[in-house]
């Protein structure tokens, strides 16, 4: 959604500030952003569809217009690796070429599995924090919707497993999460008749989100009656295939403040990788999502807040059970209780802690490499009061979580709206 360009006056003031050399800055702000509606843009037929860079550049230009910046202001372009199914390689330099963008900070591509989009924003923030850039763009376009499912899975089984000892047995990526759903049911006696409400809740949120891919409301009966994909999970409990593009412009808080316009501050950050690729070699609890416990605790700690202070949370959760487990690990619910939250309305827009107000991976749509960028975009909309019919009232602080593997790593950001 393009945001209204700022008035010319504000642009001029900001330009004056931007002429100063970049300096290391403690606080980083998101000063503008844009994202295309998630959907199917990819076409394998001639004369149809939009190419990834066509959609991407349109979104990038919208984000820059929203931020009131031009190409001469930008010192860094950090690009989410678009993945195997995007035709254009070396996408970051291709985009710089398309834009005639010269940069003294950095131009590179980031790959962090499901966390790719999170790392993209994180690395853009590093460019500001270190003083390498005055303005850094966190950008990504991800295409995959036209790739035949078997081809997609042939590739993805090589990602989420040891190719010689695990992938050979054909665990599709969501299979790992499905095993969490089974284990959750075993340990807590809570099945998909409860956790399935997470899909219903997310669809209700998506119905209010013009950027969402799936907006038609669904019921728990729809969820439970859908065809099985990775038992016990069915079609509506796992993500569909999606294309999209998103861009956020980052600057020091000094630049953001000088603009005289609302912005979102990156208040704090936490990260942890547990040194495991998908599954530990030793028996143990797979439901604790310890990396998120550690990352969110670090983020809360350095912001001087707690989980209870969050007004909303955006959580990378490709399947229903992941949202339940992650909401427990982030401190919103006790263990074994997260699955009930959606059914009980606690994570709805008017609930105690609205989660995935955009519809999440399940209903907003899930272009995996950039889903976290969409999560940041949604948090910005909420914190700046731009979320329209899905606005969470008095939203000031948001937790944004991205992950990789099976929550083998987590990146947690606390964002604060500065109006």
């Amino acid at each position: 959604m393009p945001v209204e360009p700022p008035p010319a006056v504000a642009r001029k003031t900001q330009k004056a500030r931007l002429t100063q050399a970049a300096a290391a800055s403690e606080n980083v702000a998101i000063i503008g952003y844009a994202a295309a509606p998630v959907g199917r843009y990819q076409s394998l037929r001639d004369g149809e569809g939009l190419l990834e860079h066509e959609l991407g550049i349109s979104v990038l230009l919208d984000a820059c217009a929203a931020a009131g910046i031009g190409k001469e202001d930008i010192d860094a372009l950090i690009v989410a690796h678009p993945g195997e199914h995007t035709r254009q390689g070396y996408f970051h330099t291709f985009i710089a070429h398309q834009l005639g963008l010269k940069a003294d900070g950095a131009v590179f591509q980031v790959l962090g599995n499901g966390m790719t989009g999170g790392n993209t924003l994180d690395q853009a923030a590093m460019q500001i924090r270190s003083g390498k850039a005055r303005i850094a763009l966190a950008f990504g376009a991800h295409y995959e919707s036209a790739i035949p499912t078997q081809d997609h899975l042939d590739y993805s089984i090589r990602l989420t497993g040891d190719v010689d000892f695990q992938s050979i047995f054909g665990p599709v990526p969501v299979a790992w999460y499905a095993m969490d759903a089974v284990r959750y049911q075993h340990e807590y006696g809570v099945g998909r008749d409860i956790s399935g409400h997470i899909a219903v809740k997310n669809r209700a949120h998506a119905a209010l989100n013009p950027r969402a891919q799936f907006r038609k409301p669904i019921t728990i009966e729809d969820v439970l009656g859908a065809r099985p994909i990775v038992e016990p999970l069915g079609l509506l409990e796992v993500p569909a295939r999606s294309d999209g593009a998103a861009c956020l412009a980052l600057a020091s808080e000094e630049i953001a403040r000088a603009s005289g316009r609302p912005y979102v501050r990156l208040k704090s950050r936490g990260f942890h990788h547990e040194g495991v690729h998908q599954m530990s070699d030793r028996p143990g609890d797979t439901l604790a999502y310890d990396p998120l416990r550690i990352a969110s605790k670090a983020a809360y700690g350095s912001a001087g807040v707690g989980a209870a202070d969050m007004d909303l949370a955006q959580i990378y959760a490709p399947v229903t059970i992941v949202e339940a487990l992650a909401s427990e690990a982030a401190g919103f619910f006790e263990r074994g209780k997260g699955a009930y939250a959606a059914r009980d309305g606690e994570t709805s827009l008017q609930g105690r802690i609205p989660i995935n107000s955009c519809g999440g991976c399940l209903s907003r749509g899930h272009p995996p490499e950039i889903s976290p960028l969409y999560d940041f975009v949604e948090a910005c909309d909420q914190l700046l009061g731009r979320a329209g019919a899905r606005q969470v009232s008095d939203a000031r602080l948001a937790l944004v979580v991205s992950e990789l593997g099976k929550f083998n790593a987590a990146l947690a950001y606390v964002l604060e709206g500065m109006q």
């Binding site: 081809d151 899975l153 000892f165 050979i168 054909g170 095993m179 759903a181 065809r227 990775v230």
Partner: protein, 153 residues
């Protein structure tokens, strides 16, 4: 021979690579042995076998036979499949915790139910036309007279 050996006249859907180091594992498997490595310095046992210790980084590791018995930690049944497993879907995969305190992910030859979580598991070797794979069976489903017979593709 430590674990039951089944035979299949089909080829493996996906072929593991065999390195100079892992050859011992795959050769052992084709003889009905489930081998892995442990660290001579700190004792850490790991699966799959590694030429170094992931715990203390020592490079002195040794091989050990696993008994091939354990418990089912979790499972799922895949109804969507990559290309070479399409004709086998739906198929079960799962996480097995072996008695020696290592965790293994593999194909389950029996389709479990929720009640099978925590149940006894027997690891098996399957000798395909082009080489071996390992898999797991629910011990409760193994009929002594049937001699592990199961529809293996």
């Amino acid at each position: 021979m430590n674990i039951p050996v089944l035979r299949s006249d089909t080829s493996r859907p996906y072929t593991p690579r065999v390195s100079f180091f892992t050859r011992k594992f795959w050769t052992g498997l084709s003889e009905g042995r489930l081998l892995t490595t442990f660290c001579e310095d700190c004792g850490h046992l790991t699966f799959p076998p590694k030429a170094h210790c992931p715990s203390c980084w020592a490079r002195q590791v040794n091989w050990r036979d696993l008994r091939g018995q354990g418990r089912l930690y979790s499972y799922t049944i895949n109804h969507v499949a990559p290309r070479k497993l399409r004709d086998q879907a739906p198929y079960a995969v799962g996480i097995v915790d072996l008695d020696e305190d290592v965790r293994v992910f593999c194909r389950l030859l029996d389709e479990p139910t929720m009640d099978d979580i925590g149940s006894a598991i027997q690891m098996v070797a399957i000798i395909h036309a082009d080489g071996p794979l390992f898999a797991a069976r629910l011990t409760s489903r193994i009929s002594p007279s049937a001699n592990f017979s199961v529809d293996i593709r």
